[in-house]
């Protein structure tokens, strides 16, 4: 994409945002999403936009239905956590096993897609700006039900997304992953990397019904927390359950040869403020189902909510949609209690780090 094309796209997105914002008052309930109105009302109910972390993170006023939304995902994505169910049990679909990837040219593309998925920085260096890999948030190479598996996502697109306020194709959804979650650069349409990832997802979805309600899709949403989410409790949960692998500073840990084995959760090597995992409800759902690794379901819902708030109350790379003002960017893209962007935590406004840094490919050591 040339700078001019990018500018045109940005302007178009901005215009769409404004138009859709006006149109959206009350209208998007149709989509089953947390409506713009609800979010707007929630924000108006707050006395001040810059309150302390624990206070501002309150979701107790929000309706349970709204809390089940999976922000940034298509409609019909609300997956209600079955009572007492462990992660993924509800899934009826199971993707083909890796050994069934066909031999031949198409199989090679699928395998290439898998490689990009599990080793993103090394396999797609031109588009990755941090130390994360797709597999960090989509466990078992995108196969695991309840961990936003690729097979369920594939059959859900094209779909309307509140994030872009437009209908996105699967490739466009993947572009968003690179731009936000990988703090990188969107590969151009039909770039070999996108084609490979799409092929891998297509193959994983072999035999899946084209049904956006496929069980196992997204992350199993948590019920609204019993207590107001709290930073200090989250900090304690983090120290006891997360810091051993992800580090007290959230920077993760690398192998001696430099591979980020435990992904950075915040800071310059993590996803940027525009990523879906930066939403407290998304991260809480992921954490509850999957963390600590191999011990999913062991944290209480409240612990998952608290530690998600804690994780997402730290600084990370700037939102690529940054408008020049943190509060303006917040009101345009983060006008929800699920985002701490623009909020004051310990005397510092999150996101007040200036314009996004120019894209720099992450340094992944050669094998």
């Amino acid at each position: 994409m040339t700078p001019t094309q990018r500018l045109v796209l940005r302007v178009a997105v901005a215009l769409l945002t404004i138009v859709a914002g006006i149109v959206a008052i009350g209208a998007f309930d149709y989509w089953g999403m947390e409506s713009y109105t609800q979010r707007k009302l929630a924000s108006l109910r707050q006395a001040s936009p810059d309150v302390s972390a624990a206070e501002s993170a309150s979701v107790s006023a929000r309706s349970p239905a709204a809390s089940r939304d999976i922000a940034g995902d298509p409609p019909h994505a609300e997956l209600v956590t079955p009572a007492g169910a462990a992660s993924g049990v509800r899934a009826a679909f199971s993707p083909p096993s890796e050994s069934q990837i066909p031999i031949g040219e198409f199989g090679d593309v699928i395998r290439r897609g898998r490689e990009i998925f599990v080793d993103t920085g090394r396999a797609a260096p031109a588009y990755v700006g941090n130390s994360l890999r797709c597999v960090n948030c989509h466990l078992d190479a995108g196969r695991l039900a309840g961990s936003s598996p690729l097979w369920a996502a594939f059959v859900s697109y094209p779909a309307y997304r509140s994030k872009t306020q437009s209908v996105s194709t699967f490739q466009q959804r993947l572009q968003g992953c690179f731009e936000y979650s990988m703090n990188g650069k969107a590969p151009p349409p039909n770039a070999p990397e996108l084609v490979a990832l799409e092929s891998y997802a297509y193959w994983l979805a072999t035999g899946a019904a084209v049904d956006p309600k496929l069980p196992g899709r997204g992350y199993l949403a948590l019920a609204a927390p019993a207590q107001v989410r709290d930073y200090t409790r989250g900090e304690q949960v983090y120290a006891a359950n997360c810091a051993f692998c992800h580090g007290a500073d959230g920077a993760g840990q690398r192998s001696p040869d430099g591979v980020a084995v435990f992904p950075p959760l915040w800071g310059p090597e993590s996803f940027n403020w525009g990523a879906g995992m930066g939403r407290i409800n998304n991260a809480a759902a992921f954490i509850k189902a999957n963390m600590p690794l191999g011990m999913g379901g062991t944290l209480t819902d409240q612990q998952a909510w608290d530690v998600s708030l804690y994780m997402n109350s730290h600084e990370r790379p700037q939102d690529p949609r940054y408008s020049g003002s943190v509060q303006n960017t917040r009101s345009t893209f983060h006008d929800t209690d699920e985002s701490m962007y623009g909020r004051d935590v310990a005397g510092k406004v999150l996101g007040a780090t200036g314009a996004p840094r120019p894209f720099k490919p992450s340094r992944v050591p050669a094998r």
């Binding site: 435990f262 690794l293 999913g296």
Partner: protein, 232 residues
């Protein structure tokens, strides 16, 4: 006056630095009191003795090694040879000898039978991206557990914590490569039977409970067969 003062500082510095190094190294090489030298069982380069099931110590993380010595001293990790040794050492000695072995090069001079003399990096398998179906032979159970895990049973891959190629991560996640199959299998079995404490957050306890006896043998054999050269 000035000269002698300077000289005394230099001497002081030498004493200090030799002290710091001597403690761990001396215990390792000569023992301390009733404690035999570590190297008499673990090898001059801390490489271990595969045939006897004595583990490699060189290049393991410092806090991992120290935690093991503490567990032997307290009797929570049971081993007839190591328990009296760890108990006889002071807490400071245990810390010093742990740091000593942590600072030794992983690919120590005396390579184990499993660590071939492959040049650094040359023989490292592309573990996390190994094309399963492309290779003529199907991946073994051990390789699958090591690099893929078994998520139908929410069992993560070994390398998700122990790093690519099982080469270890940080001070707490020890390398698996470079250990003998006998030692690895014995430890996994001990985790399973709770004869060995599961360690921080019960991570290994949870994992080991999901492994069958056959799984244990397979995964131990997989890591023992990986070349250790180039690790760390």
């Amino acid at each position: 006056m000035t000269l002698s003062r300077n000289l005394s500082w230099v001497m002081f510095g030498i004493v200090l630095s030799t002290n710091v190094h001597a403690d761990g190294a001396t215990i390792a090489q000569q023992g301390a009191g009733s404690v035999v030298a570590c190297q008499s069982c673990h090898g001059v380069a801390g490489e271990g003795v595969a045939a006897a099931g004595f583990p490699r110590l060189a290049g393991m993380g410092a806090s991992y090694l120290q935690r093991q010595l503490e567990a032997f001293a307290q009797g929570t990790r049971s081993n007839a040879v190591m328990m009296p040794i760890a108990k006889a050492l002071s807490a400071a000695d245990r810390k010093a000898v742990a740091s000593h072995y942590a600072s030794m090069p992983f690919g120590g001079a005396a390579a184990m039978q499993s660590s071939t003399s492959a040049p650094r990096g040359a023989a490292e398998p592309k573990v996390s991206v190994a094309p399963a179906a492309a290779s003529a032979s199907a991946p073994t159970v051990g390789m699958t557990l090591a690099t893929r895990g078994r998520w139908s049973d929410t069992l993560p891959a070994c390398e998700q914590c122990h790093g690519p190629g099982g080469r270890g991560v940080g001070a707490d996640f020890p390398p698996l490569v470079g250990q003998s199959a006998a030692y690895l299998a014995a430890q996994l079995t001990a985790f399973k039977s709770k004869a060995r404490p599961a360690g921080p957050m019960n991570l290994m306890g949870v994992v080991a409970q999901k492994l069958s006896d056959a799984d244990v043998q397979e995964v131990a054999a997989y890591y023992a067969a990986l070349p250790a050269g180039g690790a760390r």
